[in-house]
């Protein structure tokens, strides 16, 4: 009997994975003779995977010195774990795509990463902070203004509605506020819809973006931007009111909980639910699958809250440059980032995926091309983000954020199952979240 099976689980990445990574690196390095290989680990699937490959191919054709090799490394969490294990084994890829909840972890790992701004300057390339959309780039910028990672695929929270269902239920006005959503849900339910409203990423939409949208803080220290000593500030009457409403709508059968991830997207796209809050990047998928006419609107809010609506927060991922490679190779990475940020490439990426444009030039280019008129609603996400942000709305950047989100989801699940009140849920989220923040603070090297 082998009782020691589990014991090598935590240390597995060091041994087995680094060996696998080393082998993979060897295999990949072989065909390269004169060209310098740039490894790019990413987590994009299906249509977006094709786009990532096309971007790399476009760059490889545009010059002959470097060759970017995109490698799909599994979902965001897997790919981040693999990247960290590779770094610890001294074998990190050049570029790795890290989701936004991993941002604080990456930022506190000072020796492990090369800041994008430094990368560009070292390579002698022009880098203009002003060219980037502030609410997007700001998320990946330190408090002293240095941009650390390259924002690649950023999305935000928007509201989708089924136009056919609205017509059938006799709703002629698109809901702007949460009470209007409730009124619409009642009518949809009466017209025979089993599920009036659902949501993807409940914590991101209903707590994180919700806070910024109402210009109230999610955590102290400017939502974690000011340092690793942030603590949660969501145990407020406003958050309680909103969670209470969601729980009430769940009891009334208007709101269906779909899960912690993007499951709500397919519930909406299949026509099962008539309204949904989801990522703006769900657009491409919904457009391909929905057999009904749908519209996109701004995230609903409470109109009696002063300062609402402010702006929503971003999700998605950015590209981090890992330290420890030979200096000459970083020049290739810088050239690749320059290629990625060209207005044409950015505009094409934004239009094809529903992710936000990274530069203001790409936004202008898309506007001039008439894309937004032809695809109404696709500019909603940009409009929500392009306003001047405040300290409360700039974004949320916390350590151990992955766990904090899961804690929020767990407590919401207990709330929607009728096991606790909204007040209790928020209190538990705060205590448990703050424990995680305290633990992160001890290991953060700031």
């Amino acid at each position: 009997m082998n009782a020691s099976v589990p014991t090598h689980l935590p240390s597995w990445p060091r041994g087995a994975l680094s060996a696998a990574v080393a082998t993979a690196a060897l295999v990949l390095a072989m065909p390269a003779s004169a060209q310098t290989e740039i490894q790019w680990w990413h987590s994009m699937t299906s249509a977006n995977n094709d786009r990532v490959n096309a971007l790399a191919e476009g760059f490889n054709k545009s010059q002959s010195e470097y060759r970017v090799v995109p490698i799909y490394k599994g979902g965001y969490a897997e790919s981040m774990t693999a990247g960290i294990a590779a770094f610890r084994a001294g074998n990190a890829p050049h570029i790795i795509q890290i989701f936004e909840v991993g941002t604080a972890t990456m930022m506190s790992a000072k020796g492990a990463i090369v800041p994008v701004e430094k990368l560009m300057k070292d390579a002698g390339l022009k880098f203009d902070r002003q060219a980037y959309v502030p609410a997007v780039a700001g998320y990946y910028t330190t408090s002293d203004g240095q941009m650390l990672s390259f924002p690649f695929n950023s999305s935000t929270t928007v509201f989708y509605y089924n136009k056919d269902a609205f017509a059938k239920a006799g709703i002629d006005k698109v809901p702007q506020t949460w009470p209007e959503v409730a009124a619409a849900a009642g009518k949809l339910k009466a017209s025979g819809f089993a599920c009036a409203y659902t949501t993807s990423f409940p914590s991101w939409v209903h707590l994180e973006s919700f806070s910024a949208w109402h210009n109230v803080p999610f955590a102290t220290e400017q939502n974690g931007f000011g340092g690793p000593n942030a603590r949660l500030t969501i145990d407020t009457p406003l958050h309680e009111r909103h969670l209470n409403n969601l729980a009430q709508w769940a009891r009334d059968g208007w709101f269906q909980y779909a899960g912690r991830g993007a499951e709500g997207d397919s519930k909406f796209a299949s026509g099962e639910c008539a309204m949904g809050t989801a990522s703006s990047a769900a657009y491409a998928n919904i457009k391909r699958n929905a057999e009904f006419d749908f519209g996109i609107a701004r995230l609903p809010y409470y109109s009696d809250v002063q300062g609402a609506p402010q702006n929503t927060v971003i999700g998605g991922a950015s590209l981090w440059v890992m330290a420890g490679r030979p200096a000459a190779e970083y020049k290739g990475v810088a050239r690749f980032f320059e290629f990625l940020s060209s207005p044409e490439n950015q505009a094409a990426w934004h239009q094809g995926t529903g992710y936000l444009p990274l530069t203001l030039a790409a936004y202008e280019l898309t506007k001039q091309s008439g894309f937004y008129e032809k695809n109404p609603g696709t500019d909603i996400s940009v409009e929500q983000m392009i306003v001047k942000t405040t300290d409360k709305s700039r974004g949320i950047r916390l350590g151990n954020f992955l766990q904090i989100r899961d804690v929020n989801h767990e407590e919401m699940e207990s709330l929607f199952a009728g096991k606790q009140t909204a007040k209790q849920a928020l209190q538990k989220m705060t205590t448990r979240g703050n424990d995680l923040l305290a633990r992160f603070e001890r290991t953060a090297r700031n």
Binding site: T7, P10, S11, T81, T443
Partner: protein
């Protein structure tokens, strides 16, 4: 000649075990840059956390259910497969197939069948008045992962039980029949005692399976939710180590888990094996 074997055992079992012990008394950031010795703090933190203590309860329910249901179901199937005359080979092959399915896929498969809005099984359940929703109902989620985990392991148990049944001399069963024993009596007094070495072996294997090899099923089926209702100990080790990148806590949990399994195995060999006739 022993050297290669010893080397393999040292590298793959002892070295990681020692690493785990070492890491369990440190906290560190994800990149391993800031290593701080904290003594037993990782353990204290775990035992002060009522959610971690609850995970023991969840693990106990899950493991007992998976082991018991798995053994009873596969023994029943093996008993009838052993008696089957026509189509025996086809029947056996079909029963062995699930073992070839990867655990993560097992999870996805059963989630699909039980999906609250689209699933076939949840559709049937609605007809008999059960509103199935494992996304919010912890008991439903637990039933779902137990079914998936049992289904995956039945094939393995089935092969061993069938082999065990086939090695029982026919003369003994005929003798029992001549003495006037019915099917149940024959099973209870002749077959089951003769199967006890197989049953004991499978008991140990199934407990270890439920404890350690089910986290991929749980990860794809429920992710430990809703609200930690299906978070067994090994899933939390995986989550904290591989997703949350908290190696200190994950290592401490591994050490705890290792102790539990050592105790369980000793108990099994000490007390249950006594009742086994080889």
């Amino acid at each position: 000649m022993l050297a290669p074997q010893i080397a393999i055992v040292l590298v793959f079992f002892y070295w990681p075990a020692v690493q785990t012990l070492v890491q369990s008394v440190f906290i560190q950031d994800a990149f391993g840059g800031s290593l701080q010795f904290v003594g037993l703090e990782n353990f204290e933190m775990l035992f002060a956390d009522e959610l971690y203590l609850n995970s023991f309860r969840v693990t106990a329910i899950f493991s007992v259910a998976v082991t018991l249901i798995g053994l009873v179901a596969s023994l029943t199937l093996a008993y009838f497969a052993d008696r089957a005359i026509r189509g025996a080979i086809a029947f056996r092959t079909l029963l062995i197939v699930p073992y070839a399915v990867a655990p993560a896929i097992v999870g996805v498969l059963w989630v699909f069948l039980f999906s609250p809005s689209l699933g076939v099984v949840s559709h049937w359940l609605r007809h008999v008045g059960v509103q199935w929703n494992h996304l919010l109902d912890g008991n439903h989620a637990m039933i779902l992962v137990i079914i998936a985990a049992v289904w995956k392991q039945i094939s393995y148990n089935f092969i061993f039980f069938l082999a065990g049944l086939q090695s029982i001399p026919k003369s003994l069963i005929e003798a029992a029949a001549l003495d006037g024993a019915g099917a149940w009596r024959t099973f209870r007094s002749v077959i089951f005692p003769l199967l006890s070495p197989t049953t004991f072996f499978l008991l140990v294997i199934n407990v270890v399976y439920a404890f350690f090899d089910t986290f991929a099923i749980i990860d794809t089926a429920t992710g430990g939710g809703p609200a930690k209702a299906t978070e067994i100990l090994v899933y939390k080790v995986f989550y904290d180590g591989f997703k949350a990148l908290d190696l200190g806590s994950s290592a401490a949990q591994s050490v705890i888990l290792m102790s539990i399994v050592i105790v369980l195995t000793v108990v099994q060999f000490r007390y249950i094996e006594r009742r086994v006739n080889y």
